[in-house]
Subunit: 345 residues, 2 copies
DNA sequence: TTGTATGCGTTATCAT
DNA sequence: ATGATAACGCATACAA
């Protein structure tokens, strides 16, 4: 008997030998092509016996398809990113694709490097949530961007951030707010989430709310907001009755500040965040929030990336957001529901 | 000129042609083997010009190494898992390995299926945080388990859960507790985290604390704990002055319950959790907690999995944990620091 | 030192 | 319907 290298994984050849058929027949059985019943049976038995598994790398080499998609994302521990990774991975797995996870830590150089790595790995496409304004991605590889427009040949998938901003204001107005503020921290990069501000302004105008905005950039300490609040307190009372924070994270920080300043949420001031992040991934919202449809975003990215047929890819796709009560607003009905749910969980 | 299929990625052959050298020479340049300086230069220029990238799948096919490791984990949105995924991915990337992310949703069948998928992908190893007690993993593939012992030929990496349980009690005792309770929810599966209970008991004995334990299994509603508390309240006062919860998640839920019952944390009762989970991945701890050394666990798993030389793999490795103040205990010094940090961040 | 030839495991195109 | 064979892109043993 021809004892190959010990412990080498069995190949199609081994299966063919074991089953007493030709190589091509085995291949056909594997790929579900028509094969005589008796042959099929013998091959299947041999596969069982040898515990044979196709080598997807050889497959990839042959077909010039790797069934791998690279995901460029800053990290996986930010809960929004974590959820996105999860949903994208599911969407990929559903289509028998696998994911090459590239965490960039917001590093522009790393982002560019990973594009190279992705090419080496001959991935079938790249999904990127990136921050490098000059990211070079040639047209030879299919790319879908999340939250950041990257040119006409690259589709961008995002939440409907403008509508989200509007929705936040609508909600605050419905809940009785008259004088609101928009708080934002983050890069000045041209990205879709920046439209939250425009939506906010638009909403304020539509509902006749007076508003103010406090925007700080990445370098500045978040305590700037505390100073902002202090300069807007008269007789121990904040002049705003509603705040829209650009992210749940910021809302969370802001709520701590407000507490320090002796203000109560939501009775003194109502707060709405953005993202729809939950404690421990599945628990309570950190605050009342505009929820991003993460699963839809993931599905859209993957579907867009892998659709061969759609020759004319849409440049920008905005998916609808929704509002969720999280304890920092005065929603009366929802409040009761929330209190009950808290017990149940 | 031999115009191959349009748009096909350039191969070594193309590079060789462009540089006017032989195929083998190109290969040597790529792999850093000795090559004449002038040849090397020409090859490098050709690589630049054609934007050539090695096809790592062909490499893998040749070398029978794929530089891929599969990670089996329930999901990526639980913050503890999310952090683990991040750290493992970093540890892998550092070694030029990539990760095949397999999220199992605690599904035993999926866990087993992914072992098959991993084999098809000819991964170089598997890291698994699994819950299937009967998971079949043959010795032909190298496997490292997290938190669950899986037999002698499979190393298991975990936190020092026993020491963690002890540490929690020590802390509670140091902070003045006399009568404490251990709360646990989770599967009855044989896993390392179960040692938290033993460590707790051991610590209570050593410090002469009286204690009680309330353990519910996965099926039961978490509200069981509320009933437990109620049956231990006399004259509006809880008879426990310290609680050790098996996870931060449970601690978080328990703290909500305590509030509902009119009890104040930490003045009425101090609470310590386990895991070291932070809000938004990098923010505040949800509670005072025993922190798992996630980065160390990740590094250990990868290093163990990829070490060719270590023929005799250790069956169980426990990594040291640490304590972190998170607002639910009466640490006086730490309290001041925490309050300040809250401002700064 | 550089070039040539073979084979990795698979698929696909041929004859049979 | 089935079997033989070439080709995918790369590494390597061997020849020049």
């Amino acid at each position: 008997m021809n004892t190959k290298k010990k412990n080498a994984a069995p190949t199609m050849k081994d299966v063919a030998l074991e089953a007493g058929v030709a190589l091509g027949t085995v291949s056909k059985v594997i790929n579900g092509l028509p094969v005589g019943a008796s042959y099929r049976l013998r091959v299947e038995e041999a596969i069982q016996k040898l515990d044979y598994h196709v080598n997807s790398y050889a497959q990839g080499l042959k077909s010039n398809k790797t069934y791998t998609v690279a995901l460029l994302i800053p990290n996986t521990y930010n809960p929004f990113f974590a959820r996105l990774v999860y949903e994208i991975n599911i969407a990929l797995l559903k289509r028998k694709y696998r994911m090459l996870l590239c965490t960039t830590d917001f590093d522009s150089k790393l982002e560019q490097d990973y594009i190279t790595i992705a090419k080496q790995n001959k991935v079938d496409g790249i999904i990127g949530l990136t921050y490098n304004p000059n990211l070079q991605v040639d047209e030879s590889i299919s790319f879908v961007s999340i939250d950041r427009p990257m040119g006409l040949h690259i589709p961008c998938v995002a939440s409907d951030n403008f509508a989200g901003g509007q929705m936040a204001v609508e909600k605050l107005a419905d809940l009785g707010c008259k004088n609101v503020a928009f708080l934002r921290v983050g890069s000045a990069l041209d990205s879709e989430p920046n439209k939250r501000k425009a939506g906010f302004e638009n909403g304020c105008l539509a509902r006749g709310l007076s508003y103010e905005e406090k925007i700080i950039t990445d370098g500045q300490p978040i305590s700037e907001f505390e100073a902002f609040f202090q300069s807007h307190i008269a007789n121990g009372k904040l002049e705003f009755d509603g705040l829209f924070c650009v992210t749940d994270f910021l809302a969370h920080e802001v709520i701590k500040m407000l507490k320090n300043l002796g203000l109560t949420v939501p009775s003194d001031v109502q707060v709405i965040g953005f993202d729809g992040v939950r404690a421990f991934g599945t628990g309570d919202y950190f605050c009342s929030t505009i929820v991003q449809p993460v699963a839809d975003i993931a599905e859209m990215c993957v579907s867009l990336l892998l659709s061969e047929t759609m020759q004319t890819k849409p440049p920008l796709i905005c998916l609808p957001v929704s509002y969720a009560y999280g304890g920092t607003t005065k929603d009366s009905e929802a409040f009761a529901k929330f209190a009950k749910k808290g017990e149940a969980l």
